[in-house]
Amino acid sequence: MSTPLTPSTPPPNDIEKDSQINTQRHTEVAASLNQNQHTAALEIPPALLQRYVTAIPRYTSYPTAPQFSEQYSPDHYRQQARSSNETLMPRNLSLYVHVPFCHSLCYFCGCNKVITQAENTQKGNHKVNQYVDNLLYEIDLRSTLFDDDRRLSQIHFGGGTPNFLNKTQLAEIVERIASRFHLDLPSRLEIGIEIDPRSIDGNGIVKLADIGFNRFSIGVQDFADNVQRAVNRVQDEGKTLEVIAAASEVSNSVNVDLITGLPLQTSKSFAHTLERVVNAGVSRIAAYNFAYLPERIKAQKLINRKDIPSVEQRMEIVEITRTTLLNAGYLHIGMDHFALPQDSLAQALQNNTLQRNFQGYTTNATTDLVGVGASAISQFKYSFAQNHTQLSNYNSAIAAGQLPIARGVTLDNDDVLRAHIIQEIMCRNSIDLQRNTWDIVEASEKVTLADYFSAELTSLERCIEDGLVEISSNSMKITPLGAYFRRQMASQFDAYLATNTHISPSFRSKHTNPSCQKSENVVKFSQAL
């Protein structure tokens, strides 16, 4: 299924999953509910799994992070912010806050993090206090770029370990956001946080709810002792369940992150973890596939290679996860995400309002994403921008009073159209191919998506034969089986993948010629009179 089930060398795009996306993954608890999906488990033929076992980006963005360039400057970002204000009906905003600190190193983690031994006491510690001050300053800087009617409808704290910060620090950041941005109505405002249950208890969760947090994502990974020791993340089952219970008391949206394919994991031991999580009644579960890439992610060198389960074992674990969750009444959202039918993400999939951004799947109508903190990614319709990843670089940019933007990419119309269809494939079961390109991008030729992407759609022939998708000139329908292969289908539309030879070289080498558009609009001077 998804990313590398094999430890062979994946293409550079996979970096995205490991170092960029996971930094902001969270809300990635989504539901790809299939309208015609039965709770009974689907049979996924092993041959099919084998065929589609390749390293493919997770498409939380398109173009993917490896396309980001250091040519992109804070001025580019300011200009993008300005044009986003100038659109006819500007989008709402969502805000991501990155907190890189962690108490200890989890060996599987590819996120941007800083291991900090020094206690962050009630008074904080110097490094952490400085970071919080910088975050506050960055929030001020960013807020000045947006017009008064840009409502902020989603706030998310990710890490690292956001609950490394103490209650006072978190409250100060949330208050600063509230005073600088225009918050959406309380009933619509989501304030989410990723929780490491080792450094918080039930009381702590209640305190976070007092600050305003109403969505919790709790890192569990695996309850088995030997697995926890092998990845250096030992967390007591009872204590973790207490944190989950406390979160469920104060919020109707609790997500649990699990990881399949960790060292020493077996389908039997993981079945225990799944059972506990299901019994805890969490509304969303994300079961990520572990990508073992020790060459790229230094922390993973600390994992004993021989402890990694075999491909067959890993598939079995994935399969157990799927059947257990489907039998327990969860719906499959897409990729490795599951949610209960009453959960807002499951509803969003059904209502076709599901979205995907750097935080994973989200219910929010399309927003412009503002990322603050080291490594945080910001997103406009026509641009992505990423902050400095190194804490020292981030701190010095802020000290100089600058937007701490290190790299980014600007999208042209072709990119935006591809981003659109990739997003649809990642989030919907039925994709309208009769939509016109000019509904999606500005001043482009008016052609249907079916025509614009005819070569790409043809390249999906194998997927049609395999029963993953049905394609007509009107629509593309993803089957329940196909919902497990969304990335594979989406990747056929990625013009930056060198393997996609069906995409015209002019797009692959990038930058379309605007003068070839709009010839039909031309009138003669004599007709003007």
Binding site: S83, N85, E86, T87, L88, M89, P90, D147, D148, D149, N436, W438, D439, I440, V441, E442, A443, P514, S515, Q517, K518, N521, V522, V523, K524, F525, S526, Q527, A528, L529
Partner: protein, 219 residues
């Protein structure tokens, strides 16, 4: 070419036209105060004319669509009264004004057509002044959309489905509203089923409803 001009006349006219020119977003045709010499016709794309007032504030005076002429307001002051820039990639052709007037003496039909166009501009501007005086914000925006629709239709484009190349700031400045009001009203029109708006693409779902709104005092 309207009004039955003979073929040779058309040839004369086309000789006047200097070859067309492609402009990119924000490229200016002429600056406010520049000496008047040519009139321009939009072949494709959209243009925006604006004036800077004594306080340095920009006021959007007009938008120009494919098939329309730009610069006629420069005849009287002998300078261009606004700065005109392209809002998207656009194609334009130009005609020397002195040569155009000369040609008018030999082609009466052309002269009549030119006078008609000038008169239309005067008429539209009087009408707009009278209406805007007591129009609500919603009425101003509805009549703006209505006006674009009429102009597109006149040029053989769809009257009910078109792209708006201008920003909400531009529309707001043109109508004397705030940008936030423009967006709020567009949302309301969409909610009320008068229009559909996706990105920059506008669909007039209920042109009758829009007209009723313009006519109604409590729009």
């Amino acid at each position: 070419m309207p009004l039955g001009i003979a073929k040779t006349d058309v040839e004369l006219l086309e000789n006047l036209i200097q070859s067309s020119e492609t402009l990119q977003v924000n490229d200016a045709i002429f600056q406010q105060g520049e000496r008047f010499s040519k009139v321009y016709a939009v072949k494709s794309g959209t243009f925006k004319s604006s004036r800077i007032d004594g306080q340095g504030n920009e006021h959007v005076t007009a938008f120009h669509l494919p098939g329309e002429l730009i610069g006629l307001d420069g005849i009287y002051p002998d300078t261009y009264s606004s700065t005109t820039i392209a809002l998207d990639t656009a194609v334009l052709c130009s005609m020397d004004y002195d040569e155009l007037t000369q040609l008018c003496t030999s082609i009466p039909a052309l002269q009549r057509q030119l006078l008609r166009l000038l008169s239309r501009d005067i008429y539209e501007s009087y009408k707009a002044n009278a209406e805007n005086a007591d129009h609500t914000a919603a009425q101003k925006l509805a009549s703006f959309l209505n006006n674009l629709s009429t102009r597109y239709e006149l040029r053989g484009y769809s009257a009910l489905s078109f792209n708006l190349a201008m920003s909400r700031q531009d529309i707001a400045s043109h109508l004397g509203l705030t940008p936030e009001t423009v967006s709020r009203l567009l949302k309301r029109f969409k909610h009320d089923g008068l229009i559909d708006i996706e990105n920059r693409h506008i669909e007039l779902k209920d042109a009758g409803g829009l007209n009723a709104l313009i006519a109604c005092a409590n729009g």
